[in-house]
Amino acid sequence: MPDDRGAVLRGLRGDRSVRAFSKLLAERLGEGTLSRHRLAGAETGAVELPDALWDEIAEALIASGHSATDVAALRSTRPPVEPPPSPTPRQRLDQWSRVAGQVGNNYWWRMPLKVISRATSAANLPGYRSIVARHGVDRARHLRALRTRLDLGATGAGRWRADPDDGVAIDRARSECDRRTERAELFLLRLRLRNTGSVAWRDRLMYRIGAPVTTGTPFTPGVLPVPDTDPGQDCEVLVPGRAQWFPSLAAISFVMVFPDFTPCLPGRVCCWIDARTEELDRSLPLLSDLPGPGGTTPG
């Protein structure tokens, strides 16, 4: 979209000379911020000004008597960054295939207990060791299962179709879907899923909707393999993770997809990680008062 701000600025200058207009703006912007030449160039579009400077010009004009409506067209309305490509099943498959392809090189994958011991407290570490022992976490097998599904998706995209006779329910009584924990603490969720339909689950994945981690939401893997499960049978999906950095209540949502990341079932499972504390979230104080516009400091 063409930038019309130069023409708008020219209109706002009116009958004033460039010199006079530049002087008017300099009273607010400060000397040297916008020279006559740069101003003239901006009006014709020959010179590109940063959006922040356009905002300063708008503010200077308001201070000199123009209305906010007069100068509204000087404000940028374009997004500061081009959005990422729209997500498609193929894009998600490619993204996670690239990540999964490199997982085996990672320190935390090769030495999980060492990483766990760094990420948790001495009091909690024995608990995690027993979890790892109890579930017999075979990382190589787990990664193989994931990579097999992703490779299948890449080579067979489009061959899967959702079936109306497919069905899923979650056995919450035998699952651990929600967790109350300290912020940034490790956790392991257990999702016990029942195949309630008449379609066998083969080579499926659980896909987490949204970013795998933010400062406000927990970290979990973005994709996890679903054990092959016949109709009427149960399976258990383990979801390892780390609670959010800031104390909060956060939701994480998983859907079940085919290897090509197309959905096999409607709906999702939603898990809650509660890292709230009694403490309030506090702002950071200034170390000293800032002087007022006249250089005075409040008493």
């Binding site: 997004p79 081009e82 959702a162 056995d171 029942r194 949204g210 209540l249 949502s253 309030l280």
Partner: protein, 310 residues
């Protein structure tokens, strides 16, 4: 950026491979190495480049030319000010490479909006101030993104429209100047969970309880939305905070509307005065809420699976 990169795996050479694949996908003409001068252009990266960016040393802020409020605010450890100015193309590449679902590009929009405000000699925003609200069109100003607001949302927006009328012409009181002071402090409790899944264009009433835990009475204050952009979470440009004495608390509601495009988004609000000066400039983030809009190809993702009694 580092948090998402490490979440995908902490091996830096592997991250370089994944990131360069993403760069090539987004920018087929990407150069093989950084060029000199001029506008940043997409290029392939190496381990050393990533470390520089993630440690805050890439094109960083010139610490010799700090704005007055930072110098006078008594920053003793300048390493806390290290921050890389990351080019837009690299943010998009990280987002795609490490499956950030648009979260990094959304945060880039926030930082691009806040940086010029923080670099002024007084930490201050210049757009969407109470004085910019057209007289007689206050409700339209607040309700711009909520054309089909339900009764509750409409009531909140009407209350804001009424509150801004008195604020528009307000000037600072000599006994209560509009300048950040060391005794000012806000503490908050979120009432809105993080990570909520919303349908495209879906509505949410986010809420916080703000406690005045400082020594300064809160008068003439608003919560400014920082980093709004077309395509992001839609909110009113600001909401008015009722006057709140030290030791008291106030509950604030902010109507929000999810974007129409799938992704992970965050809306941030910072406390400020009617002239745009931020009250608590040391607190970068302020209040925030993270929302997720699911991809359109998923079937009914906002409905939860039934419970099976085993």
């Amino acid at each position: 950026m580092r948090q998402l990169r490490v979440a995908a795996g902490d091996d830096l050479p592997s991250a370089v491979v994944i990131l360069n694949q993403a760069i090539t996908t987004l920018y087929p003409d990407a150069e093989s190495a950084p060029g000199g001068g001029g506008k940043p252009r997409p290029h392939l990266v190496d381990r050393s480049f990533l470390l520089t960016v993630e440690k805050g040393h890439h094109s960083r802020l010139d610490l010799g030319r700090l704005p007055k409020w930072i110098k006078e605010g008594g920053v003793t450890d300048k390493t806390t000010l290290y921050t890389s100015r990351v080019p837009e193309w690299l943010v998009r590449a990280y987002d795609l490479a490490f499956c950030a679902d648009g979260y990094l590009t959304d945060m880039f929009a926030w930082s691009a909006a806040l940086l010029p405000d923080q670099l002024r000699d007084r930490p201050r925003r210049l757009r969407d101030l109470p004085a910019h609200v057209p007289p007689g069109r206050e409700f339209e100003f607040f309700a711009e993104h909520f054309p089909d607001a339900d009764e509750r949302t409409a009531a909140v927006l009407r209350a804001q429209a009424e509150a801004v009328v008195g604020l528009r012409e307000r000037r600072p009181d000599p006994g209560s100047p509009w300048q950040p002071t060391s005794g000012d402090q806000s503490s908050s409790r979120d009432e809105t969970p993080e990570g909520l899944l919303l349908a495209p264009g879906g509505g949410l009433m986010a809420a916080w309880v703000l406690h005045n835990t400082g020594t300064v009475p809160w008068r003439d204050r608003v919560l400014y939305r920082v980093g709004a952009y077309p395509g992001g979470v839609r909110t009113p440009p600001f909401v008015v905070i009722p006057d709140t004495a030290p030791g008291a608390a106030v509950r604030i509601e902010v109507p929000m509307r999810a974007p129409d495009t799938a992704g992970t988004y965050r809306a941030c609000l910072k406390m400020g005065w009617p002239d745009g000066t931020y009250c608590l400039p040391n607190t970068l983030l302020g209040l925030y809420v993270t929302l997720v809009v699911p991809p359109g190809d998923l079937t009914d993702p906002t409905t939860e699976w039934a419970d099976h009694a085993g």
